[in-house]
């Protein structure tokens, strides 16, 4: 390390000013122009977060959003060298610091997580899967699209406009999100606990429809009857169309 403490300190003072807006005099700095650094740096953070969390931006009042972003950027040292993954750190920061805003909007953290998952799924590296897509749904092994995420929420952030979510909506909500192989678009499907378990089992290994139905039913202490088998078949056919099942 060749840097002198004075140089390091000047660099730190400029960086701190960009993050917090608190300026400590630095020799040689043009104080008329230095604010542009603060503006430009802050704009990158704000634009990236707005792009990742449009539903959250729409929910919050401008002051709530701006104050939260400002606090995040001041207090949290962003770790990712890739700015597009930085919004995940925004979620983690809010989860760890539990600001008052989360009391006003008890579903806010879930909304932000839901929005982040969509970004993550859309952008994540491709996952290979072996399937031929030609077999019989009723009898052949089924393969789940590996580019999926199973998620549970206590508020219906994926179903309802966030402005209309209230504490009375609190419950258990399950969904699967998956990326369409051709277009790369992300699809959401609301699930029952039974179907969640079934997809969990399918993600462990390819299975036939009957095997999946009986193993899932066993986990729920149920005996599969014809009605259940038919419902599972309908679901599987629908998911095949939606390319969650390949």
């Amino acid at each position: 390390m060749q840097l002198l403490e004075t140089t390091r300190s000047h660099q730190s003072n400029l960086a701190t000013y960009c993050r917090t807006g608190e300026y400590t005099s630095i020799p040689g700095v043009n104080e008329k122009h230095v604010h542009h650094y603060r503006r430009l740096v802050y704009n990158v953070i704000d634009d990236t977060l707005r792009s990742a969390f449009p539903l959250t931006v729409n929910l919050l009042k401008s002051k709530e959003w701006n104050d939260t972003v400002q606090r995040f950027f001041s207090e949290h040292p962003c770790q990712s060298p890739q700015v597009w993954t930085m919004p995940k750190e925004f979620y983690t920061y809010l989860d760890e610091t539990q600001p008052k805003l989360l009391k006003k909007y008890p579903f806010l953290l879930e909304l932000i997580w839901f929005e982040w998952l969509e970004v993550e799924l859309y952008m994540m590296p491709d996952k290979e899967s072996e399937f031929d897509g030609k077999g019989e749904l009723e009898t052949d092994l089924l393969v789940i699209n590996p580019e999926h995420i199973l998620q549970s929420f206590t508020y219906p952030v994926h179903l309802k406009n966030a402005k209309f979510i209230t504490v009375t909506d609190k419950g258990n909500y399950f969904l699967v999100m998956h990326r369409l192989p051709e277009s790369g678009k992300v699809e959401f499907t609301d699930l029952s606990p039974f179907l969640v378990r079934m997809l969990e089992l399918l993600s462990e290994q390819p299975s036939t429809s009957d095997d999946l139905t009986s193993r899932t039913a066993a986990d729920f202490s149920m005996v599969p009857d014809q009605e259940l088998t038919d419902q599972v078949q309908v679901f599987i056919a629908r998911m095949k169309e939606k390319k969650l099942i390949l």
């Binding site: 960009c18 990158v44 990712s80 790369g184």
Partner: protein
């Protein structure tokens, strides 16, 4: 130390941006010789954007221009990420890896923008040491870009002295961003032509051209959001004639993306200047 690549005819490129990727790939309107991307925007990306990027790679040679190396930072280099960059350069067959002579991380926090390094002797040594470290890890030469800046920070020397000292003590190339030199000359009141004369032009391996925004009577911000203005084209013309050799040039446009034909017109303009500089018209004399 490192062997310089031979460029052939890969001379006029465009920054590949998601904003116009689809139209660019599905039309014959914008026809660069190469494309440039920031590795930070593409490493670890799959799905739709990976497909688009692969289509672009299938058609165009790639130049890579990083954002987060933070060569002048007081913080240690992020070697783990640099290894990912190395893999990215290998996997994409990238022809060049350039970065900014600035810092973008400090106190263990990324700022995602380019802050000016103090023009000090210790910073020269610091940067030179890190250039060596980066080139050793990547096993290739990098090119450092002279960045635009809006205020000096505790300078002990001039900008030109600082850049020359770094090039004297580092085995790296120079990315000549002509717009940045114009912007800096305006903001810090010096002659851009004299500045170019003072650079070791034999070290220039790559040129960037872009537009900017004048935000006040005494300040221009390097936005990459406007068309290139004539004084910057003239400075480019001057730099090209001084170089006396062909060097790849990139058109950067990151915001306010215009119709692709407007970008193509800018590329054509750059090509014309390049040809005139390299193959000057010969007039018969009596």
């Amino acid at each position: 130390m490192w062997r310089r690549q031979m460029w052939g005819e890969l001379m006029t490129g465009i920054g590949f941006r998601k904003d116009f990727a689809e139209e660019f790939l599905n039309s014959e309107i914008l026809l660069p010789d190469f494309i440039e991307v920031a590795p930070e925007n593409w490493i670890g990306v799959g799905g739709y954007w990976k497909k688009q990027f692969q289509q672009a790679l299938d058609r165009y040679p790639l130049f890579v221009h990083g954002l987060s190396l933070s060569i002048g930072s007081p913080d240690p280099l992020d070697l783990a990420f640099l290894k990912k960059v190395k893999t990215f350069l290998h996997d994409t067959g990238a022809r060049i890896y350039s970065e900014h002579l600035s810092y973008a991380k400090c106190d263990n926090a990324h700022l995602y923008d380019l802050l000016p390094i103090p023009f000090t002797r210790d910073a020269v040594k610091h940067v030179s040491e890190r250039v060596h470290q980066v080139q050793e890890l990547l096993q290739q030469k990098i090119a450092l870009e002279i960045v635009s800046y809006y205020t000096p920070v505790a300078p002990e020397m001039t900008e030109l002295e600082f850049i020359n000292e770094i090039l004297n003590t580092s085995d790296c190339d120079l990315l000549l961003d002509v717009n940045n030199i114009y912007v800096n000359s305006f903001n810090h009141k010096y002659d851009p032509y004299t500045f170019i004369d003072g650079l070791p032009l034999n070290r220039v391996s790559y040129i960037h051209m872009a537009g900017h925004q004048k935000v006040s009577d005494d300040l221009i911000i390097d936005t990459h959001g406007q068309a290139i203005i004539d004084p910057v084209y003239r400075l480019f013309d001057y730099a090209r004639s001084k170089l006396q050799r062909d060097v790849p040039v990139l058109l950067e446009r990151d915001f306010n993306i215009p119709e692709l034909k407007e970008l193509q017109e800018e590329l054509d303009h750059l090509r014309t200047i390049r040809k005139n500089a390299i193959y000057p018209k010969v007039y018969a004399t009596a």
